[in-house]
Point group: C2
Chain length 292, copies 2
């Protein structure tokens, strides 16, 4: 449900009976009300028994230039929901750009209540996932966000099953066979985190990467930057998810995304482990951060 600013927030469907109460926040670009309506409609059609309730933070549809509200508004909204004992999980509404701007203001204000919750998102939300994982939050995952999840029932249930109980059926499939800790990031986002106070220690982790709407020369440049970091050279290996909606270059770059990633892995001594079933699409699987 879309609540009015200042109103007490409650789940859509008979709060109190729900076994999962989700708070939806926006840390990034403007979030369209039509997408909010789509989320509401999906829940009404697919969760008629009200076993899962959700609530939009009242600031979720705010606008400030490019952003979904100014930095203070987005940071306050995240802190308010993360610390709220009435909620079980935080679901990012959408990506775009903006979460790196608010991370520093959020972290010191999070309480033990916040530490208990599950957090799910990807793309730009990766900046906050990185922050939470670095801070030792145990239930942080890369996976479908509210706005894109409800475009497909399977995607939405994959997200909700993880938000509810960390269902392993939602996991990226290689996680069933590889017991090492894992993380997943949008390449552009991780590339903008390395060396900053948001970069978690990824030593020994399987690092999964995906990206969207980039020309291949940028993918190549980001892989140079990433794999030249001493910190990243300590990962267990890299898996490549989907690199979609590639912006064409003239002339053709001459390498595929997989060839680019293999090349930089080889140059930097990082094992290339193969593909990963993640990306900016409905097949995007859930990658819980760390050990499982």
């Amino acid at each position: 449900m879309v609540r009015e600013p200042g109103a007490a927030y409650e789940g859509t469907h008979t709060p109190g009976t729900a076994v999962l109460k989700i708070g939806i926040v926006n840390a990034s670009s403007r979030f369209a009300e039509t997408r909010g309506e789509a989320i509401k409609a999906w829940f009404e059609a697919n969760v008629p028994d009200s076993s899962i309730s959700f609530v939009f933070h009242p600031a979720v549809f705010q606008k400030h230039g490019h952003f979904g509200g100014d930095d203070a508004t987005r940071a306050n909204a995240f802190v308010e929901f993360a610390n709220d004992p009435r909620l079980d999980a935080i679901w990012f509404a959408r990506g775009g750009y903006g979460s790196c701007r608010i991370a520093e203001a959020i972290l010191p204000r999070l309480t033990d209540e916040a530490r208990k919750k599950r957090y799910l998102g990807y793309s730009d939300a990766g900046s906050l996932l990185a922050m939470l994982y670095k801070a030792g939050f145990p239930h942080v995952a890369h996976g479908p966000m509210a706005s894109d999840a409800v475009r497909s029932d399977a995607t939405a249930w994959r997200a909700l099953d993880w938000l509810k109980k960390g269902a392993s059926s939602s996991w990226e499939p290689t996680l069933h066979e590889d017991p090492r800790p894992a993380v997943a990031f949008n390449l552009s986002i991780l590339d903008a985190l390395v060396g900053t106070y948001l970069e978690p220690d990824l030593t020994g982790h399987v690092l999964m990467l995906e990206d969207v709407s980039e020309p291949l020369y940028r993918i190549d440049r980001m892989m140079f930057h990433l794999t030249a970091q001493p910190s990243i050279r300590r990962v267990a290996g890299i898996r490549l998810g989907r690199v979609s909606e590639i912006i064409e270059n003239d002339p053709d770059f001459g390498l595929t995304p997989e060839e680019i990633v293999r090349y930089w892995c080889q140059r930097s001594g990082i094992p290339y482990l193969g593909g990963a079933d993640i990306g900016h699409d409905r097949e995007n699987k859930v990658v819980p951060f760390g050990h499982r």
Copy 2:
């Protein structure tokens, strides 16, 4: 002159009498022969006394996918010209993308001859300028490249005057008043160098930045990344050159490039020092790296 592959290379105009002998190399994207002809025509029209000679490395017009020849070819060409005692200076033909790929292969092969030369370029060439400066090369500068310089007589002479004798008349004007060491970079390039083996120690330096053809959300994200680096927080301050051909966002980002840079400087405690007369344009002034 454009020499045939394998031919002995000589200056265009009566080599031996020239007071400045320039070698032109390409470390980045494909370099069009029409731009080579434009350079040749400019020299024929403007340096009829042959006091300045130039030579294209024979590999300069090669093509390999996106690049001006494969990595080995571009690296070998740079090393060959840098180490050649018959040349006084190395001028980058153009930018684009590709120099970060070849830096690691170049550096160990450079001799004391290479150390004596002047090096001038910007944009993608910044990766190699960073490498040379980090290695202690004394005559490295951010400034017009061969292809773009000859579009304007003033630009070309600004570049040549610096290549010939380091003329202070070519300098970015604030360098006349600020005695601190300086560097200049394309923001996207420096952002992709921090934390890598190519990043020079910029402690106490005035750091000038410029960029081209980026949307403002990327400028903002790069400034977050850059100013969050502990290494970059040790600069004396940041000056902002021109951010041109901005790719429009919908909605409008809401901040100008200067507002973005001021914001991140303030957040990170880096002094914002004002503007810099550099950019992807004919007014681009020369910024010699380090002390002057």
